[in-house]
Amino acid sequence: MDLHAIAFWSFSALAVISAFGVVFAKNIVYNILSLIAALIAVSGLFFNLGAELLGALQILIYAVAIVVFYVLVISTVPEYKGQSVDPKYMLISIPTGFAIFLELSYVSIYGAWASSTGIFTPEVMQDVGNIKAVSSMLFTKYLFPFEVASLILLVAMIGAILLGRKEQVMEENQ
């Protein structure tokens, strides 16, 4: 068992356990803490896979920026006191979800893979490094989607501001 395998098993165990926490923990604060744990585990998996740029971004954007949103919101909205899960939907979705999981793993383990045709072989990666490879792709071939993504973020920002300010605007109108 080499280091990669140990890292994979431990990170994936952490990710799955935290995911259970996200889904089934009653308190919303525990949910968010579990989500942070899951995100860090996923980030570890990225590093383990060799995607250093994404591993770093995962922690920077997800675990910091997005989770901060949630924390801000739960501090605004009072604590939710009702039943955390609905047993009648658990009855449907847990067996169904399990079946889907079986099918997905069946597909991923026994399915036929496409042949590796990409130019970024491990040797090339060793040479240029993951960050340079991804960034060069991002700023050349995917430049237009990149710009569109920035627009989407702008729109989301404006939308969030409008949604947050709505009450105040209405009061002014009144």
């Binding site: 609905d86 939907y89 449907i92 979705s93 169904t96 979800g97 079946a99 889907i100 099918e103 069946y106």
Partner: protein, 648 residues
Amino acid sequence: MEYLWVIPFSPLIAFIIISLFGYKLLKEPLSGIVAVIGVAISAVFSVYGFYQVSQTGDYYDLKLFTWMPLGDYNISVSILWDPLSALMTCVVTVVSTFIFIFATGYMKGDPSYPRFFAYLSLFVFMMLMLTLADNLVQLFFGWEGVGLASYLLIGFWHYKKSASVAALEAFIVNRVGDWLFLLGVLLAFITFGTLDYLDIFNKIPEVGFWTITAIALLLFGGAVGKSAQIPLHIWLPNAMEGPTPVSALIHAATMVAAGVYMVARIMPVFASSEIALDTVLYIGTMSAFIAATMGLVQNDIKRIIAYSTLSQLGYMFAAEGLGLFKDGMFHLASHAVFKALLFLAAGSVLVAIHHILDVQKMGQLRKYMPITAATFLVGALALAGIPPFSGFFSKDPIIEAAYEINWVVWVLLWSGAGLTAFYIFRLYFLAFENGDRLDPHIKSHVHESPPNMTIPLIVLATGAIVLGFFREFFMNFLRPSLDPSQMKFLSEETKIVVEEGLTRAHHVHIVEDAWHFLVHSLTSPLGLLILFTALGGIFMAFLMYQLRVIDPVWMANTFRPIYLLFYNRWYFDHIYYAIFAYGYYKLSKFMWKAGDRFLIDGIVNGSGKVSMSFGDILRLTQTGRISAYLAQMVVGILVFLSLFLFLS
């Protein structure tokens, strides 16, 4: 011969001018004058062309322009100018000219005066496209075009229910024939690969007997519809709902003769099939006889003449079936003149007595309308076949020839001649002579028609008198078109085939010179028999309707079944009504009950009920809760994932 293109397009230009400016600029007298000028120009040109072709006996095939390319074959708009088409074109244009002049008087004061002349010009254009065609598609174009013009003109007084119904009837009955005709054209195209007459003729020897028979019979089906032969004759008497000039032009002189013309035009095709010729012969003979019997007992002045048209067209077809194409075409020409004359005289009468159609309500009209009466009498004598009028020289040869070829046909044609003489003189005596049955109120207004109506009558009457004496000229004139040994455009093989087909008429020798024919029929027993039959018919009409020695009512009661048979027009209309109208109605009712009410409504209502009950069940799942929808979505993902996994 390039000037020939003027002939069809001059009426077309008149049509366009009248339809564009008729109501706004030209108004009543001018649009009629434009139409008359349009048709008169083409009459002048066609008479000149007729003169030229009579000098040379040649044929000219002018391709004006390509209409549409069809694979290797180009359908062209063209003019085939040979004696046959020259004769037909002259008949159409000259008779049309006089009818147009008559119509300017007849239609006086009609609110739709320009429309009438626009339609008439359109009709003449279409008819000329038909006669001048050198291929079957152009012929069919003209064929349908005259059908359209006929429909428009029969229904000209569209506010009259009977007129619009009659127009529809004419159109629909013609469709039956046209459908057969179109099938014939298609079959000809498949068989010959071309539709030009001259190419078709030269390919006849290569084609099998049954194929050519099928083509000929299908094309003849169209002729039966257009020329109103039995069993598709029912539309023509009802077509008399149109204005009288229309009846004279379309339903007597020209359009209904298109079938006769078409059969003569593609004579080699018919001549190469024994069966086709026999069919033409028997259909024509039956029509000639049955229509004559129907004419005996009608009371509507225009319908009597209409039935006589049916009957005379039957004679023409019979002549063609006997192989006497030249006699058939000559009868067509002389018939066009005297039938137009009869119709126009009837129109003149109708204008004078305010459109009372019932002959039983006329009488003594000769006193008030001497010119009309005299010209009508000329037409009636010509129709009856009394020498020296044209009908005698054109109809009697057909009957005499029939005697030598087929005695059944002869009996029917011969008795038909007697009936013809009887019914036309019954009409003459009832309308112009005999007792005074006119409504006194109308009688005070009766007067002779104006000159623009009587002059055409006089001209046509002159034609009906003198035309017969040109019998020999016409026979010789038509020879390059209808005598296989002299047809220049036939190949030698085709000539042999056609000669063989026409052998049935080879032993018939009718004197062609008019004077000798007259002497011959006044001396030979057969000629005298036919002549005395016609005179006997006239004499019977004289006894029954002028002297009243024999009471017609008594006759009708004595021979009641026969009278009823004739009066009800051999029950053709009833049978067609029972089979087509009522049968279709019954079928529709059955389909309505079985198909519509049970099947369609069952499916529609049933599916409605099923979806409603399903909806009732399914709406239980629509809780409006996001979680429920998401759970359903998860199940759907599972189902589709499983499908992709286990089915592919």
